[in-house]
């Protein structure tokens, strides 16, 4: 397998391996590239390394070997002080949501903008726009606990897109949702992708992939299967 060297790639993963303390090898010699504006699905059984791969891309973890290059920046060589700014390139949707249950819906979505340091008026405007896109505009004063599972997932998405990131990374975004909700969520990702956002989704939902027919990277025990 030769390293992808395409110039314009947004995400370039070359010969990446990840071994955890204790010897478990989550990824072995993984190589692929994602072009700007692409929508890519990463599939595989649970424990195949999907989440690990997303974490390596967002610099949440570091590869044991190989290189991860995002927009020309080598993640493994990055200084700790640079990483916070680097992460602002991404919209992250976590498997366990990671919502703040002591904050209102509005405050959850506004957090990335606060971190970036936007003026207050701009924060309010952008937060409402993001909530509008996921259909939660009327719920901004409520607490996340009052939302259904599907609504919580949409709240996560609002938080991920509020910063208008170039890359969306989603880990099992349709995990515990019934088909109707899942379809709605996938529809949102498609619409973001249509306006130029690069989308990488880790999922084990084979139905969805069959229907969409997207580019799929299949992971099997930490290796990319053909």
């Amino acid at each position: 397998m030769s390293a992808t060297t395409a110039r314009g790639s947004v995400i370039q993963v070359s010969h990446v391996s990840k071994r955890y303390a204790g010897g478990f090898e989550a990824l072995r010699e993984v190589t692929f590239a994602v072009e700007p504006g692409e929508m890519v699905f990463i599939t595989g059984h649970s424990g195949a390394g999907k989440s690990t791969l997303l974490k390596l891309i967002a610099a949440i973890e570091r590869p044991t070997a190989g290189s991860v290059i995002i927009n020309g920046q080598n993640v493994s060589a990055m200084k700790p002080g640079v990483i916070p700014y680097f992460r602002r390139n991404f919209g992250l949707i976590f498997q366990d949501h990671k919502l703040l249950f002591d904050r209102s819906v509005f405050e959850n979505v506004a957090l990335p903008l606060l971190i970036t340091g936007f003026p207050r008026a701009e924060i309010a405007k952008r937060t409402r726009a993001a909530l509008d896109k996921v259909g939660l505009l009327g719920r901004e004063k409520g607490k996340p606990i009052t939302l259904s599972g599907g609504e919580q997932q949409r709240l996560c998405i609002a938080r991920a897109i509020v910063n208008r990131p170039a890359i969306l990374l989603a880990d099992e975004p349709t995990g515990n949702l019934d088909t109707a909700y899942a379809e709605e969520i996938i529809g949102m990702f498609k619409s973001f992708n249509q306006v130029g956002v690069t989308v990488v989704i880790a999922t084990h939902d084979e139905d969805m992939i069959e229907r969409l027919g997207p580019r799929v990277l299949h992971l099997d025990h930490g290796r990319i299967a053909a």
């Binding site: 967002a58 949440i60 002080g81 916070p84 700014y85 680097f86 992460r87 602002r88 992250l92 976590f94 990671k98 703040l100 249950f101 002591d102 904050r103 957090l111 990335p112 971190i115 970036t116 340091g117 003026p119 207050r120 938080r159 910063n163």
Partner: protein, 301 residues
């Protein structure tokens, strides 16, 4: 302008956080206030004592008391000896009648003295050294004791010097106490912030994941520590000021009985500002130590 707004927002948030847990905050502030009021109160007591001792002791001087039955000739001889001593600056002779009259005028002892019927006071010389050198006066004291018809020689500077030395010891104690209690204040803040970090762990973790820098995460905790310290300093100020107020009410009675107007000075503007700044800095330091220590753990997980 934007960064200023960010800091103001953090300040507002920290105040809101203090207010959200009124009992816990109040207890912390009271503990800090008491801890700080001890050295602050002692310091104030010392500076009051120092002003008081300055009022009492002017230049060091030697008092030479003659015997009651000393004649004019012996007095003249002593005066002669004093005047011929080149190191002596000023010699003041106080005749026994004059001393008696002075005593009658002051301290409300007139009745007692009148009833006494006779003057119990001796003639006296008050001598000041030219160079204000205590060694000269000590030498003079030892000489004068040998002279005929000299009853008693007293070096007046001695008690003032003893008081001064005692005040120095007191000042050292205050410093030690201040250092110890400053450590206590830092420890209290350290622990408060540790608990806050634990309860806000999710928030810190999520913020990290979506691109928060370390200063962004630290800032609210540092503000909280400094604010809590400041409030503790203010509590200490209030404790000391109230204590002075109550003591002065009692002192007014006491000094009224002695016919003097003695009253304690409360903490001045400079001292108050120093106290507040000191406590805010200590709170900030405690928060900083705590955040630096505990955020590292969150990063690793």
């Amino acid at each position: 302008m934007n960064w200023l707004l960010v800091h103001l927002d953090t300040l507002r948030e920290s105040l809101a956080r203090l207010a959200r847990q009124p009992i816990a905050s109040a207890l912390n502030i009271v503990v800090m206030g008491i801890a700080l009021s001890l050295p602050a109160g002692f310091y104030l007591g010392l500076s009051n004592l120092r002003t008081f001792s300055r009022q009492l002791s002017s230049d060091p001087q030697v008092s030479i008391f003659m015997t009651i039955d000393a004649g004019t000739a012996e007095i003249a001889a002593v005066e002669q000896r004093l005047k011929s001593n080149a190191e002596i600056g000023r010699v003041e002779f106080i005749a026994r009648d004059e001393a008696f009259a002075r005593l009658k005028r002051s301290a409300g002892l007139a009745d007692v003295l009148t009833n006494l019927g006779r003057n119990p006071l001796p003639d006296a010389f008050i001598v000041t050294a030219r160079g204000n050198d205590p060694a000269t006066l000590e030498a003079l004291r030892d000489q004068a004791r040998q002279w005929p018809q000299v009853e008693h020689v007293q070096l007046d500077a001695e008690w003032a010097r003893r008081l001064d030395a005692a005040l120095n010891v007191g000042r050292m104690l205050v410093t030690l106490l201040a250092v110890l209690l400053a450590v206590a204040l830092v420890a209290v803040t350290f622990n408060t912030i540790r608990l806050q970090i634990l309860t806000r762990r999710d928030e810190i973790e999520v913020s990290r994941l979506i691109g928060a820098t370390n200063p962004f995460i630290r800032r609210p905790f540092l503000y909280f520590g400094a604010l809590q310290g400041l409030a503790g300093g203010f509590a200490a100020w209030a404790i000391v000021a109230l204590a002075v107020l109550f003591l002065n009410i009692q002192l007014a009675d006491l000094s009224g009985l002695y016919g003097t107007a003695f009253k304690l000075e409360g903490p001045g503007t400079n001292d108050t500002m120093t106290l507040l700044a000191f406590s805010a800095v200590l709170g900030w330091l405690g928060a900083w130590l705590s955040v630096s220590r505990h955020l590292r753990h969150i990063e690793l997980q």
